[in-house]
């Protein structure tokens, strides 16, 4: 019954709803309310070490969610980000541990593998006209299988590659500012978010991303080679998943081939909570980032309050439905 303590959060947030017309602000306000509620409920919650743990927990899901955001804005969906992440981690393992090549090549392998997978998904969707849900469902299973095949179903450890674990667990910021030991994984998340945000708002690729989601046929009839751009967006999304693969491999110091399923749904949940429309045409990276943070804060906060794991999942599900409902209400009001 302790889960009841979280109930004030959504209701208070929904009161602010009237004033805050923007979903991004709505999500942000929800995040703040959650932080306040949890810090009032437990003195342990607001400690620096716990905050950093939350950020660290956000990093992988955040990066995957950013990748998913790009595809979702085009009006598509990507169910393969979870197993693709694992596949990229395994590819890094093959290059670094099995072939013994230097670290930068492992990074290239992971990101390149992701980009290639995205290219394939994009081609299935754009050229073969397979609905994104099906194309990426297929990719999800293919990549899950390939990860197991390539790794021989056993984890690949990175013990022979010094510095690999520092990709996620080291802290460049902490070296400069010892009182702020923010792990590199979090730093990478924010760099990826900044880059993706820039691409979406400032580049032609980003513009077509929104345009495809808004009215693909109108874009095609404007003489734009929509197929090519769509493939490019899926490939970029895949490359970002590759970064996610590096992060998780570095954090575990190993590539775990059985991991990955379920991550895609967490990523999509973060995107949706962040106010990106599943029908395409609308969405922001900052919203997705906040969505991922909300999910991490919820999980962490409920754990700090020693709510049973089972209940954490229930609450997360309820939050997703609530977030989308709030978004629908806002849009109806706007019309």
């Amino acid at each position: 019954m302790t889960s009841v303590t979280t109930q004030p959060a959504p209701s208070r947030a929904s009161k602010i709803l009237g004033a805050l017309m923007h979903q991004r602000l709505l999500a942000f306000a929800s995040l703040i309310v959650l932080l306040i509620v949890f810090s009032l409920a437990s003195p342990n919650f607001m400690q620096t070490s716990n905050m950093i743990a939350i950020l660290q927990a956000t990093s992988v899901n955040g990066v995957l969610a950013i990748a998913a955001t790009l595809v979702i804005i085009t009006g598509g969906i990507d169910l393969s980000v979870g197993t693709m992440m694992t596949f990229c981690a395994v590819m890094a393992g093959v290059v670094l541990t099995k072939a013994g090549l230097p670290l930068p090549l492992g990074v290239v392998a992971a990101i390149g593998a992701g980009a290639f997978c995205g290219l394939c998904s994009g081609t299935f969707v754009a050229k073969l006209k397979i609905p994104p849900f099906i194309a990426t469902l297929g990719m999800m299973l293919i990549l899950k299988g390939l990860s197991l095949v390539i790794s021989g179903t056993r984890p690949i450890y990175f013990n022979d590659t010094p510095g690999f674990d520092l990709i996620s667990r080291g802290s460049l910021i902490g070296e400069v500012l010892p009182f702020l030991p923010i792990p590199n994984g979090v730093l990478i998340l924010f760099i990826v978010a900044g880059a993706a945000s820039y691409i979406l708002s400032r580049t032609v690729l980003g513009r077509y991303c929104f345009a495809l989601g808004s009215n693909e046929e109108a874009v095609r009839l404007s003489g734009v080679n929509t197929d090519r751009w769509k493939i490019a967006i899926y490939a970029l999304s895949g490359a970002i998943v590759g970064i996610g693969g590096l992060l998780i491999a570095s954090r575990l110091n190993s590539a775990q081939p059985a991991l990955g399923l379920g991550y895609e749904l967490e990523a999509i949940a973060a995107v949706v909570i962040g106010g990106t429309s599943l029908s395409g045409g609308r969405g922001t990276i900052i919203g997705t980032l906040i969505g991922a943070l909300i999910m991490a804060v919820l999980t962490n906060g409920l754990r700090v309050l020693s709510v049973a794991q089972e209940w954490q999942t229930v609450v997360t599900g309820a939050i997703i439905i609530l977030a989308v409902y709030a978004d629908m209400m806002r849009r109806r009001k706007a019309n």
Binding site: R202, T203, V204, L205, G206, R207, Y208, F210, A211, S214, N215, E217, A218, V219, R220, L221, S222, G223, V224, N225, G281, R282
Partner: protein, 504 residues
Amino acid sequence: MTKLVEMSGIEKRFPGVHALKNVQFDLHSGEVHALMGENGAGKSTLMKILSGVYTRDGGTVDIDGFDTPPDSPRAAQDMGIGIIHQELSLMNDLTAAQNVFIGREPRRSFGRLDENALNTQTAEIFASMKLDMDPRAQVGDQTIARQQLIEIAKALSYKPRVLIMDEPTAALNDVEIAELFEVIRRLKADGVGIIYISHKMDEIKRIADRVTVMRDGAWIDTLDAAQTPLAKIIELMVGREVKDEPPVIPDTSGAETALEVRGLRRGREIHDVSFSIKQGEILGFAGLMGAGRTEVARIIFGADPRDGGEILVHGQPCNIRSPYDAVGAGIGYLSEDRKHFGLALDMTVRANIAMAAMGKFTSKTGVLNEAAMKQTADGFIKQLGIRTPSDLQDVGLLSGGNQQKVVIAKWLLRDCDILIFDEPTRGIDVGAKSEIYRLLEDLAAQGRAIIVISSELPEVMRLSHRIAVMCEGRLTGILPGGADTTQEQIMELATRREAAPVGE
């Protein structure tokens, strides 16, 4: 004879358009009352008010036996007003019977479906129409004509007292039309009042008792169908006052041919269409709805594949297979359906204008130059007089005329020298229309080749240097523009249906 429907002083406004102005209409039981007018005259809007889809802004609607007019399609159905829409609204994966009784399926206890009752009741309706069809047949497997008949059966299943038929014969062949008319005569005998909308003039003489003519959202006249010559009805439909002076036709004999099309074919829609257009020329395309004009434009633009034929741009054969190819060859197409095919409604004016020419605003690394985009957008807003609070306004919030100007700006920016305008003034007010006309003339004067597809004859005649007329997928003739060509001549070509196959 009871008066089933009496509408008077009907007013309807949409953003930017005064769709219905003081319109009157009535319907007796046991009559076929034809509603005539060009596309955009307001017929469909009037019928949507009668069938509860739209609410009127003014005027009265009296339905026999009811105190208040219908406020929803459901209410209209309950009052016995049935409508057969021009676009088919059937569910292809269900059977004929399932479609006919959708939402009113006969049930047995515990909500179980009574498929037998469903099929027998549907079979009865089919029998009353003398339609030979298995109620269990999948709708998607039927031809368009037979789907149309299922749609009619669905309307009949409500046992309507008033039946609105919007272009019911558009997809039917002569035998099927004769059968449909037989159904209509039987309904008449049962006292049903039928409102009949059609563009096929000859059908009016065959089936209608009275004719009401509308033009530009206004009621023009209600006449006896038998005693009024067709020519008179056409005259009322198109209106005498084509106030606009006929176009000044420039001498383009020395100009280079911009676009030539030879033997264009596509399925059953387009048969052997050939024409050419010179630089600086405006070629109008006239024809009735479904004549294939839009299809020709989409094929030339690469939006739909072609089965045969050649496209030559500036004398060079051009293998256009996608809009991307077409734009590369300098062809622009402004769709008749701006909302679905022309604009991304929830994007800004600026983004929409730049859409077809993004390369102009992109650095080598793919970064957009928003400042240059803004400057360009502001330039077009001023040049074309687009009424918008700013270039960052969402296009969806603009009026129809201003949306159309945004689409035009998009193609002007792309600098195409062959531009195809499909219904450039659809849904646009009279004032904005003449602005668009002037714009098209300016574009031609700059040496661009302009194709204008329009269902409004005065518009075609007002703009065109030459007029191509289509009927049933064929080009039936090209008339010279100017004052010497009459609307009757165009109508004659537009209704010249393929002669019945004689022998061979």
